[in-house]
């Protein structure tokens, strides 16, 4: 005990005597992130971390309240319990003033209440399910909820003459299920006839039974709500079973990843997906982001990296405007956000969701790559 306090004194003395380690002085502001960094869904978390880290470099180059932000990224491994433990650790031990993440809506439904109870602002960058921000007044998101994106995509499908649709979704994941609910509501609202509703598990590799059933019904379009891996599997198998160009495939937010082309290749050609962001958007802010991201990571950013990048800037901006690294003040400042980032102009609604959908772009797969969909 004695030895430990001696050690503490020694460390404190050393720190006090040392010149300020950081250019602008002051202890760094602790910020936490909880993302999926291991396991089958780690692709999302690693993209998000890359986006956060790029933004962090820019933020720290300028400084926030004359200090820097110290980001601690915890791995949730797509496991709700692990995500909750990560949140408790970040709040209890690292004393973070805000949390970014977690990656999946599933995890946010578990972690959101923990952060909200401890009055720590938590901002989802990729959580698009319905009901996320209803968890409590400290829960925000910068990702457009799927309910704002899917109607835009389905309207485009309808404009191409789609009248009947079959819906497919992964039934073991909150994100996919909520996307499906939105899809179903949007399809009904758009006046499309739903011929079949089929589900699968997000780790399934065989979808032949469901696809055979759908093929017999000959719908104009098949709309899929799932993460990119099962969506790729569905498309590959659909081609094996003889689905051709006469069927339009439509994806939810999960399909909006370059991984779709990498895994499914040309099997994904023709798929339509709505996106809050696109790598090819040619405004200067976006082009600068893409160039810097490429230089740092050696690959193109995806939507998840872009959303995370904006979120880190939005948080740093809120901390600056709050005038203090205190969670309650940051929360109030977040609500007043007026930011223009790579996703376009950004403000929060009073419900802590993004306010504007003007940035939504409808994309189509061609030759294994996304491009802006022709009208």
């Amino acid at each position: 005990m004695l030895r430990r306090s001696l050690l503490a004194v020694a460390v404190a003395a050393t720190l006090a005597m040392a010149p300020p380690a950081l250019a602008q002085g002051g202890a760094p502001i602790p910020v936490g992130a909880i993302e999926i960094l291991s396991g089958p869904n780690a692709a999302y978390g690693t993209a998000i971390r890359a986006g956060l880290e790029l933004a962090l470099e820019e933020v720290n180059a300028q400084g926030v309240l004359g200090r820097k932000i110290a980001l601690t990224v915890e791995d949730s491994a797509a496991n709700k319990d692990q995500a909750i433990n990560a949140a408790r650790k970040l709040i209890g031990r690292d004393k973070v003033v805000a949390i970014i993440g977690p990656t999946l809506s599933n995890e946010m439904f578990a972690v959101g209440p923990v952060a909200n109870e401890r009055k720590i602002p938590i901002i989802g960058t990729s959580t698009t399910a319905a009901g996320i921000t209803e968890i409590g007044p400290y829960v925000f998101r910068t990702s457009l909820p799927e309910s704002d994106v899917i109607p835009v995509t389905l309207a485009r499908a309808k404009a191409r003459g789609v009248k009947t649709v079959a819906l497919m979704y992964a039934n073991d994941d909150a994100f996919s299920k909520s996307g499906f609910d939105t899809m179903k509501a949007a399809a009904e609202k758009a006046g499309l006839t739903i011929l079949a509703i089929e589900s699968f598990g997000s780790k399934d590799t065989d979808f032949s039974a469901q696809l055979t059933k759908i093929r017999a019904l000959k719908p104009d379009a098949v709309s899929i709500s799932a993460l990119v891996e099962p969506v790729s599997g569905v498309l590959l198998q659909a081609r094996q079973l003889g689905f051709g160009k006469e069927t339009l495939f439509v994806g939810g937010n999960g399909s909006n990843s370059p991984k779709l082309g990498e895994i499914a290749g040309t099997a994904a050609d023709g798929l339509l997906v709505g996106s809050p962001w696109f790598v090819g958007k040619d405004d200067p802010a976006n082009q600068a982001f893409v160039t810097r991201f490429r230089a740092k990571n050696g690959r193109d950013p995806d939507q998840f990296a872009a959303q995370a990048y904006d979120c880190m800037h939005i948080l740093a901006d809120a901390i600056t405007r709050a005038g203090a690294a205190e969670p309650a003040k940051i929360r109030d400042a977040l609500l007043e956000t007026k930011y223009s980032g790579v996703m376009g102009p950004f403000t929060f609604t009073q419900g802590r969701d993004p306010a504007s959908t003007e940035g939504v772009v409808v994309l189509a797969m061609q030759g294994g790559k996304f491009g802006v969909a022709p009208q």
């Binding site: 598990g201 055979t212 290749g265």
Partner: protein, 292 residues
């Protein structure tokens, strides 16, 4: 549609059976619930992927990857289980050791190669589908069907028709007695590990080829179904695994096709519970390896 659904079911069943073959062999002979089995499956697929990217054709990549996975199996079995076998530790300890081992291996593989789903080069096997009336089957699917049949036949011939098979069966029956009869049980155990690893590796390549999804955790995803198949088929029962795999595939597809796709997952485990209640030693009520 019924014909296509039946074909879908048989193909899915062949996938399950192919995965379960080595698993049931390992279980039946070595009496170890070896959870590293799924890792051999992933390793085989990833090895074949690497070779295919170097330009190896499938007829070369498949057997080499299978042999590679077999070697991995021998080494892992030796590292993880030799000591437990020597002190005759209870079955639960080997279960826990392999569980810990396989989780460490999956994580190591993921941090090395990344979690991304990869595909074998699309032109490795002709992508053409064969039409028989309304039914479509692809070359990769036929390859799985053929390989499963061939491997089951070869395995049965090995077990029934060779001295090595006799030694393995003797060891499955009573390891102590087998040792007293002059069988080198250590070597036989290594051989069984090797064969199981090869089977898992071959399964990984073929299944990866069919579903176009190769990633470090692909073996883990198959393990639960693998358990159902070998328990329903009877532990160590090769023909049982084949029949149970086919039955499970057909039942799952029929459930998804004609009842509800939401029940597809549940039905496998309902069958497992029902079989364990009524026929605890498996649907066929005997383990070939031990009683043949």
């Amino acid at each position: 549609m019924l014909a296509q659904q039946l074909v879908n079911g048989v193909l899915l069943g062949a996938v399950y059976a192919l995965f379960a073959l080595g698993f049931t062999l390992m279980f039946g002979v070595l009496r170890v619930i070896n959870l590293t089995y799924g890792f051999y499956f992933s390793a085989g697929a990833l090895l074949a992927l690497w070779m295919a990217r170097q330009g190896a054709p499938i007829w070369l990549a498949l057997p080499l990857a299978a042999l590679g996975a077999g070697c991995v199996a021998v080494v892992l079995d030796w590292v993880l289980l030799t000591r437990l076998r020597r002190i005759q530790a209870p079955e639960l300890s080997s279960l826990m050791v392999t569980l810990g081992g396989v989780l460490a291996l999956y994580s190591a593989l993921t941090s090395w190669l990344g979690p991304d789903i990869r595909r074998l080069p699309p032109d490795l096997v002709a992508a053409d589908a064969f039409h028989i009336g309304e039914v479509r089957v692809t070359a990769a699917q036929l390859l799985i069907l053929g390989a499963t049949t061939l491997l089951v036949a070869a395995l049965l011939a090995l077990m029934r028709g060779t001295r090595l098979g006799l030694a393995i069966r003797a060891m499955a029956e009573k390891p102590d007695a087998a040792q007293l009869m002059g069988i080198d049980t250590g070597r036989a155990a290594a051989l069984v590990s090797f064969i199981s690893g090869c089977l898992a590796g071959a399964g990984g390549v073929l299944i990866g080829l069919n579903f176009n999804a190769i990633h470090p955790y692909m073996g883990e995803a198959m393990m639960l179904r693998g358990f159902v198949v070998i328990i329903v088929g009877g532990l160590g029962d090769i023909r049982g695994a084949l029949l149970a795999g086919l039955a499970l595939g057909v039942i799952e597809v029929m459930t998804a096709g004609y009842v509800s796709s939401g029940l597809k997952e549940a039905v496998a485990f309902l069958i497992l519970v029902a079989v364990l209640w009524t026929r605890p030693s498996g649907l066929f009520g005997r383990a070939v390896l031990r009683r043949a």
